[in-house]
Amino acid sequence: MQLKKNLNVAEKLALATATLLGATAQAETVKDEWQFVGSILTYSEPDRVSALETIFTADKAFDDTAKLSYKIVLDSLTGASANGAIAQDDVQTFTRPSGNGQYIIQPQETPLDDTFKDTRAQFSVNWSDRLTEDSQYTIGTNLSREYDYQSIGISGELARDFDRKNTTLSIGLSYANDSVSPEGGRPLGFSSMVIDNGQFDDEQDYRNAFNATRISGDGSIDTTELLLGWTQIINRRMIMQMNYGYADVKGYLTDPFKVLSVIDSSATAKFYLYENRPESKKQHSFFALTKYHLNDSIIDFSYRYIDSDWDIKSHTLDLRWRLFAGKNSYWEPHVRYYQQSAADFYYPYFVEGTILPEFGSADYRIGEMDTYTIGLKYGFLIGDNRTEVRAEYYHQTPKSSSNEQVIITEDLNLYPSVDAFTLQFTYYFD
């Protein structure tokens, strides 16, 4: 009896300590409810664009089920971008998109517009919570602002689990309104670029001619999207996801900075026309992802097929292989292959004296091309904090178009390839 009583005292002491431990543990979980992640990235295309991007996310958990997520992105971009015109054996002069001044392109150089200097700020908030025992919703809003472009969007998603959470079906809807307001106004589709070669009496005369190629007001784009998702656990090591997406984009889809060269039969550029794209685009996407856990690594493989009524079809293959190296670090090689067909209104140039099609653009990004990416990521701990360093190399190979009617010599390099390097550092402040 005496013994038992003593034991009880000892027990109670132990229990008192346990209570204290419990209290601290709970305090820790409260502290853990905020999670911050920061990422900084440099992007550079040699001789073209370079960009610096910082992203910061903050997530707060409520009541074990709800989550509030904030995201801030700051981008600064400088450099030059292909304007769509083709290289020539002579010097070419272009008017800047704003109408203020000109830029000169040397012989056999791909015309690049070096006016690009922009800063973008993006802010988004998402809220998700459990709706019932096996369903969840997410609602969010997104704001983005640049010097000449802004976007506001909302989105919502509903997901429901079935079969012991082995199957998840989801439906998402989003809507965004973008407005485009380039400095110097939007060019009139297929109007001819006004270039001051001394033919104007005065500045006002030039301005009048330039303004005649402009349309008033801002461009507006409405994007409505539907996304259906199916996530399925296959077995203890494997999970799959399939998505179907539909996007309807309406409005000013023309790129106000792009032109087409109008050339004669000897491939000499006579003048330049501002591009003109359809005011609507409809896109279907199919995406399948599978993840497989091997003994010491995880394979992440996805395939995506996209088809649009601009006739652009694309195939994307993406493979990431996370190889665990010790308890807290891993190496992750990445390869991606992408192939797209050209938009039906893609023309590398127009030929003088031929009938203009309804739409046309020489933007190589809507032409046929192959691209590949190779990258490597290293994940490790700094103190107790997860850290990632990632380097990627991206290569684009544009392909010749069936809309070519004039022989262009090799040295003019109608389809220059593009390289890009990214270096990214991510830190989890948890």
Partner: protein, 75 residues
């Protein structure tokens, strides 16, 4: 043509899934591998949002994994 393609893929996927339906999935206590952060469907959301942004500005199709979006006049 394109709708046929999508239809074909859907049929293959659905039959594959339904065919193996009885054996698909795991018990709640067998999620040791699936619970790892690296096995999350989107295990690196930071990377995928950066990649989406880059590819959106360099290629003509976007989306699939998540909304195709817009929101930037990327050139």
């Amino acid at each position: 043509m394109k709708s046929k393609w999508i239809f074909g893929v859907s049929i293959i996927c659905i039959t594959t899934f339904l065919g193996g339906c009885s054996s698909l999935g795991v018990q709640p206590w067998e999620r040791d591998f699936l619970a790892k952060p690296g096995m999350a469907i989107n295990s690196s959301p930071m990377d995928s949002s950066i990649d989406d942004h880059i590819y959106f500005s360099k290629e003509a199709s976007s989306g699939g994994r998540s909304f195709a979006g817009g929101g930037c006049g990327c050139n």
